[in-house]
Amino acid sequence: MIKLNTAKDGETGWVASIKGNTRFLNRITSIGLTIGSEIEIIQNQEKCPVLIFNRDTVIAINRSECEKIMVEVIER
């Protein structure tokens, strides 16, 4: 299990846990990220928000918020 901000481009996996206050949890679920949802890392560059693909959508998430999201990477 790794933090989302340490995931590499092209990796796929599913969301294992999300931490944070109610406001953050509401925001992140309303944009489609829930426990168990599948994601693909599109682009993770230093100092830039992480780009992921989830539920048909490309989503940009701030790096510090990504630290609160744990991902189970699926080995290929």
């Binding site: 406001r23 509401n26 679920t29 309303s30 426990i35 693909e40 830039c48 780009l51 539920r55 940009a60």
Partner: protein, 679 residues
């Protein structure tokens, strides 16, 4: 019923504004929700003998009560003012954008579901059966292409049917999912609530919101419960951890069950990214590309605007000549002719030029937004702009302001939060427009020679500091903490633009822009005209001279003589006006034009003789004071008019104007005393 109120609800990028514009055209009223820093848009249309009022609710991702936008939405829906709620979803990203519907389920106001961008979904190889979804939900489901008015037929047909506003969204399936939630917490909360729900909310909806620790739902429930039940509820809820994750899971399971058998898809997985998109989001190239495209956009809007500007100024000067001759032949007094031609017609020219430029900017940047590139700008500048508490998109108005502040203010339109937008406007005023440099360049090189470079550098340094402080002062009142949370944003796919619609939407607004601009600009112009009017062209007979010399003891505190102070005041009308005013007030040779002609930018200024007159007229420290006062002053009357236009708040426009005049004088004072120490 001859009158019906429809509320539009949907996530950002669902095409809500496009549909709103498409339905209502130019019949719109924009203001703010009472007591809130949130924009309120209402529009009207008539169809088949019935009048419809459309309320465009703020674009939010869900219905939690965490932001002002969401609170406004919740309060409006609870008020029962809407006969029908239309929830808009993006059919090309149906699963995610249906979250709004899931979050709405359990609110007992009639609702219909609109599937927007059906054309994009088809291109992606998705087959969506709206009838199958409608059967599961028990409400009308209408496919639509918001950008194409020809596709509105089904929507109009649905609005006409009487059962549309009587059928309710079926909440049982979602409710059952909630009930299966771990440790039965939902069931226990649910059992404490009145069976029939409270107001427009069903008990199932309220229970889910309570589990999400929603404070507004708690307020609703609190009054309906006995003391005993209140204690039970508090105890229950204190055990719940991360309730939003639990309910969110149920909501998406519900959406998945809704779409099963209703959507056929060819492929899954992330789409292949274009090389352009890789470049646009690249760490190295993203920023330069954004800046290049914004500058290109600025140039393009100039190209669109300049021919019109030329045409208008030609027509108006011809008209002015005609009126002058006509009226003087008819024996009208010179005062009236001057008022009409110099005061009112000049103002009309100003307003027309502003509208033309606003038109160019709106069109070009509306285009950049519509094709989906604006979201990439937001992404690349997120870190930089976060330092001012702003969205990444705010970079765009700042860059445009180097060309013209009117464009900068208009460009803030792409920012979706009203508070952020007004803060960005307030900040963009600091950015020196092209006209600023003419004056700063002349005065600083006359007084400081090669040292002018240091003056300009110091101006930039102070301007940056000004922006930091201004962002703190205005941001504190305008940007709520919830707005400041780190970026979580969707990057929409690139869309083909619909030129015709874009053009129509922009054109629709221009009449309104012109009328509002005319009001402000004529008022202020005529006021200044009256102050500077003299029958014989001698400055000393104008009101402005009397006032200026009278208050000079005070303006000297700021290091401003009455002439430079008047030039400072005039530069609030237009930066380029300052030179002409200086020239006429210092009585430089060959300067026969009146002050008003100078102010309205019609006088030709002989710069070399002005330089000489300035050198003999004021000291170096006073020159520095003037440069600072001028640089940090209100950019121009038209920028003020645009700010009022875009913020639709007279109060905030006045606040920003007042703030700029005060800080400009403060800067002048500081520069003056520092100047006295140096020189």
């Amino acid at each position: 019923m001859k009158q019906m109120t429809i509320a539009l609800l949907g996530q950002p990028n669902s095409g809500k504004s496009t549909l709103f514009n498409g339905l209502t055209g130019s019949r719109q009223h924009v203001g703010n929700w009472p007591g809130k820093t949130v924009e309120r848009k209402e529009g009207y249309f008539a169809f088949d003998g019935k009048n419809y009022t459309v309320v465009d609710l703020p674009g939010t991702y869900g219905l939690s009560a965490n932001s002002e936008e969401e609170i406004v939405t919740r309060e409006y829906i609870a008020s029962g003012k809407a006969d029908l709620v239309c929830i808009l979803t993006d059919a090309s990203q149906l699963e995610r954008s249906l979250f709004m519907l899931a979050d709405y389920t359990g609110i007992r106001t009639p609702v219909i579901l609109l599937l927007n961008m059906m054309d994009v979904a088809e291109q992606q190889g998705k087959e969506i059966s709206s009838t199958s979804i409608a059967k599961k939900l028990g409400i009308p489901v209408v496919p639509i292409i918001a950008a194409d008015k020809k596709s509105y037929g089904d929507l109009f047909k649905t609005l006409k049917e009487p059962e549309t506003i009587s059928t309710m969204l079926d909440e049982n399936i979602l409710s059952d999912l909630y009930k299966r939630m771990e440790r039965g917490v939902f069931k226990q909360v649910f059992s404490l609530l009145p069976e029939e729900g409270i107001g427009v909310y069903s008990s199932s909806w309220l229970a889910a919101k309570l589990i999400e620790q929603d404070s507004m739902a708690m307020e609703v429930v609190w009054d309906a419960l006995s003391t005993d039940d209140r204690n039970k509820l508090t105890a229950l809820l204190s055990q719940v951890r991360d309730g939003s994750l639990l309910t969110g899971d149920c909501k998406f399971k519900w959406i998945e069950s809704l779409l099963r058998d209703s959507v056929a898809e060819r492929k899954k997985g992330a789409p292949k990214r274009s090389r352009f998109d890789r470049l646009a989001t690249s760490k190295t190239w993203g920023k330069p590309l954004s800046i290049a495209i914004i500058i290109l956009g600025l140039v393009l809007s100039m190209v669109i605007a300049i021919p019109f500007m030329g045409l208008f100024s030609f027509l108006l000067s011809a008209l002015s000549l005609l009126i002058t001759h006509g009226l003087s032949d008819a024996g009208a007094p010179a005062l009236i002719i001057s008022l009409l031609c110099d005061g009112v017609l000049t103002a009309v020219t100003f307003a027309l030029m502003m509208v033309v430029f606003v038109f160019g900017i709106s069109l070009v940047f509306g285009f950049i937004e519509e094709i989906g590139y604006m979201a990439r700008i937001s992404y690349t500048f997120d870190n930089t702009m976060a330092k001012f508490g702003l969205q990444g998109k705010a970079i765009m108005p700042f860059i445009i302001s180097f060309g013209c502040n009117i464009g900068g203010v208009t460009g803030t339109r792409v920012i979706d939060s009203w508070g952020q937008r007004v803060t960005t406007m307030a900040l963009s005023w600091v950015v020196p427009c092209a006209a600023t440099w003419g004056v700063v360049g002349l005065v600083s090189s006359v007084f400081f020679g090669s040292g002018a470079v240091f003056v300009v550098l110091s101006l930039f340094a102070v301007a940056l500091l000004h922006m930091v402080i201004t962002s703190k002062i205005f941001g504190k009142q305008l940007i709520k903490d919830s707005d400041r949370s780190g970026l979580i944003m969707e990057l929409p796919p690139y869309h083909k633009p619909k030129y015709k619609n874009l053009l129509r939407f922009v054109l629709n607004r221009m009449g309104d822009v012109l009328i509002r601009a005319l009001k402000i600009i004529i008022l202020v112009s005529v006021l200044f005209w009256a102050l500077s009017y003299t029958a014989d062209g001698n400055v000393e007979n104008s009101i402005i001279y009397t006032i200026g010399t009278f208050i000079e003891p005070v303006t000297l505190w700021f290091g401003l003589r009455w002439q430079t102070f008047m030039a400072f005041i005039a530069s609030a009308m237009g930066k380029e006006a300052a030179l002409g005013v200086l020239a006429s007030l210092f009585n430089t040779s060959g300067e026969a034009a009146g002050i008003w002609a100078a102010m309205s930018g019609q006088a030709h200024v002989n710069t070399s003789s002005l330089g000489g007159a300035l050198l003999t007229g004021i000291s170096k420290a006073e020159a520095l004071a003037f440069i600072y006062a001028f640089f940090f002053n209100v950019p121009c009357l038209m920028a003020v008019a645009s700010t009022q236009q875009e913020s639709h708040s007279v109060r905030w426009t006045f606040r920003i104007v007042g703030y700029y005049i005060v800080t400009a004088l403060l800067m002048a004072t500081l520069a003056y005393y520092i100047g006295l120490l140096i020189f």
